[in-house]
Symmetry: C2
DNA sequence: ACACCCTAACTGTGATCACAGATCGCGGCA
DNA sequence: TGCCGCGATCTGTGATCACAGTTAGGGTGT
């Protein structure tokens, strides 16, 4: 989800098990889950890897994200508490300070961005919905965040800080439509950046 | 998903493995996946069972279903092909003939209902979305369909055939709002029936 | 007659072995 | 010098064993 593993990168159950200092069994179960929801894939040769991303699959995932995460933003604006807002603002600031830093660190920015988004989603009090969105990020994260690490200058030029500002303000104000709109702009902005890199298949 | 297992019903990995004539390993993996997405749960005593359903969890799942499946209905109305429509109408008729049969069989009705809904969802061409909805049905199915099997008379009195008729017509006409509306009515109708049985916890 | 304890039979989980298949590299032959 | 082929090593998967923990039932003691 954090882009630590690039699309196409292979991994071995045994080497992961050795790295973590456990036997193969727990790794098998974890990987089997990720394979089941297509966050990882096993090739016909039995090699496990991060799936490659095609343009059509990227657009499909983005369409679903717009619907699901857009709904979550609406619902968050409806149901957020003051504790939710405090958490949300904390992560917004963390992202902002990293994005505006003289030499921004992509890892930190990626993490703060994720935590900000999920703080909003958790404010819906719909844990099922949060789980669904986690699955979506698991699938699209390798592309989104791996490319961001390659092009960290996007942190400065991209509109993410502005989208975040509007999102947080709308959620706090209880303005459902504005919250959805800000989130949609955030997602589509990042998506068109990724498409513009031309690194997607097909 | 079909209500074959009642909420609270326990199962044993070894007995399932013996029933299916395989070793424990494939059962372990399958159950682990269902446990991971909370379609099954392992109690502190290590017993595996179908989770009990509380009223608040039922309402949460219903809210998410309304958003996600409602979006799917819209998208289906936008993108359905004539092949999609043929499949959808086939399952609608299967459900109808079972619901209006002199002695309706709950299993058959449940199956036709599921196949009708998923034929609509598949018409979106968003396989990720279909997978998400499968997860939702896996969680709410035990309650929805187990209760339907207990009270098969609901097949006659419930408004499902009418909701289905409107849904199919709207999808065919490309009327997105009407498709979402018909599906929302179908879901809320079934949900209020379940709530009225008073069998949910809390 | 009733209550308590102990034992035997289960539970899921981790580890290890076995196996079929694929891949990669080294060595030999042309 | 270049290419082909065989073998060693890797892959994930199924099966089996070991283990800690719980549960339920029967027998014993009061």
């Amino acid at each position: 989800m954090s882009g630590e593993l690039a699309p196409g990168q292979k991994m071995s159950l045994r080497s992961v098990a050795e790295t973590l200092g456990v036997s193969m069994m727990p790794v098998r179960e974890a990987v089997a889950r990720l394979v089941a929801d297509q966050s990882l894939e096993v090739l016909p040769n039995r090699a496990v890897r991060v799936p490659l991303m095609t343009l059509s699959r990227f657009r499909e995932l983005t369409a679903v994200r717009l619907a699901v995460e857009g709904f979550a933003a609406e619902e968050a604006a409806r149901r957020r508490t003051s504790q939710d807002m405090a958490e949300i603002k904390r992560f917004e600031e963390a992202f902002l300070s990293e994005a505006r830093s003289p030499n921004p660190q992509a890892d930190q920015a990626v993490r703060a961005n994720k935590e900000l988004h999920f703080a909003v989603y958790r404010a819906t009090s719909l844990s099922t919905l949060v789980g669904i969105i986690e699955g979506l990020w698991l699938k699209i994260g390798p592309v989104l965040n791996f490319d961001l690490k390659i092009s960290p200058e996007r942190l400065r030029t991209g509109g993410a800080p502005e989208h975040h500002r509007k999102l947080v303000a709308a959620v706090e104000a209880g303005n459902e439509a504005a919250a959805r709109n800000a989130l949609v702009n955030d997602i589509t902005g990042a998506a068109s950046f990724i498409e513009s890199t031309g690194r997607l298949l097909d």
